[in-house]
Subunit: 204 residues, 2 copies
């Protein structure tokens, strides 16, 4: 199966701008991408980027928005997995769980309704990553009579988009993104509720 | 295996107070509890509550804080699963995945480092739900030389604690909690980023 990893190389992770400057956003996004590519190493992943990026995998550059770029690839009709590049917790076992179901469409939801990972084995199915895409993709698959499977995975749900997400990298990560974040002073702050991300010397 | 579902019956879900009044918090918490009990139906769950609660399962009332109440149960040495009551997305397959690993301790992390589900097969292991408990439990298991497994599950990670979490119930739930929330006007609002919970007539 072909495996694509879309990557926004031009202006990555803008919603992390409150805690990372532009250079840091690039470095951290590339560290997360490296973690995803490592988890996919048995599957020869191809990075689908909106600008050239120096990474240890083949890169297809397509300057169009995410939805259009992915749909252009799906139009070939080749069975394809699409996994987002901001999933630094993902491991090889989870990749196998994603690919295992024998369904026309397999989805792993992200927090807030994103479609963080997707397998498409039907040549007519197209993506639309706007809005609550996992719900829209589910409805589209059902409307077309396609078989649908959902993969229940925290590793695939935990996309790192917002400052509050960074704590998950520190709590569970053991790859390049976690190393980067710790080296730059990222720490876990415990509270009465959920643990929070912070910078500095807070006891971990 | 004994299965416990801790439930705060006295003043449930205080962090949802911004969007639910006291009566609604009770009703919604009981709806979530019903969903969890339904997922556990093959395992004869017992509710471990801090006050009497009218629910379709045996209830053990222990007025002590969560950590103490659970540890009092673990002291018996009986293999025990502990699953939180605010996991309305959990399904039967995921329960089986939690119970399957043959390890002394099995954990399913929650968002922000909680321990949303736990299996303990070692009579010396004790819980401490304060702080980033999944990290502390992991360290404690390793320090004691216990075998440890982690279950990768979005359904078990998505505890419904804060208003932002409610959108997950609407996006993925099909049980009592989702029905309650929809009947009370809960809706999905789509934005450029993650979908958000809202009240009212927003198109779903």
């Amino acid at each position: 199966m072909r495996v694509l990893v879309p990557f926004g190389a031009r202006d990555p992770k803008t919603r992390l701008g409150a805690v990372l400057d532009e250079q840091e956003r690039h470095s951290f996004a590339e560290a997360m991408l490296a973690d995803v590519l490592r988890a996919l190493a048995d599957h020869d992943p191809v990075v689908l980027a909106d600008a050239p990026v120096d990474v240890d995998a083949p890169v297809t550059v397509d300057e169009r928005p995410l939805t259009e770029a992915v749909n252009a690839e799906l139009a070939s009709g080749v069975p394809t997995a699409v996994m987002m590049a901001d999933l630094p917790l993902v491991g090889r076992e989870t990749v196998e769980r994603l690919i295992a179901p024998d369904a026309d469409v397999v989805m792993a939801p992200g927090l807030g309704g994103g479609t963080n990972a997707l397998v498409v084995r039907d040549e007519t199915f197209r993506v639309d990553y706007h809005g609550a895409s996992v719900r829209d993709h589910r409805r589209a698959a059902r409307a077309e009579g396609l078989s649908l499977a959902t993969v229940d995975s925290f590793q695939l749900a935990a996309d790192i988009d917002e400052p509050d997400d960074l704590v998950e990298v520190l709590l569970h990560g053991d790859g390049a993104a976690a190393t980067w974040l710790r080296a730059h002073g990222g720490r876990v702050a415990t509270t009465d509720g959920r643990a929070q991300f912070t910078w500095g010397d807070t006891e971990e």
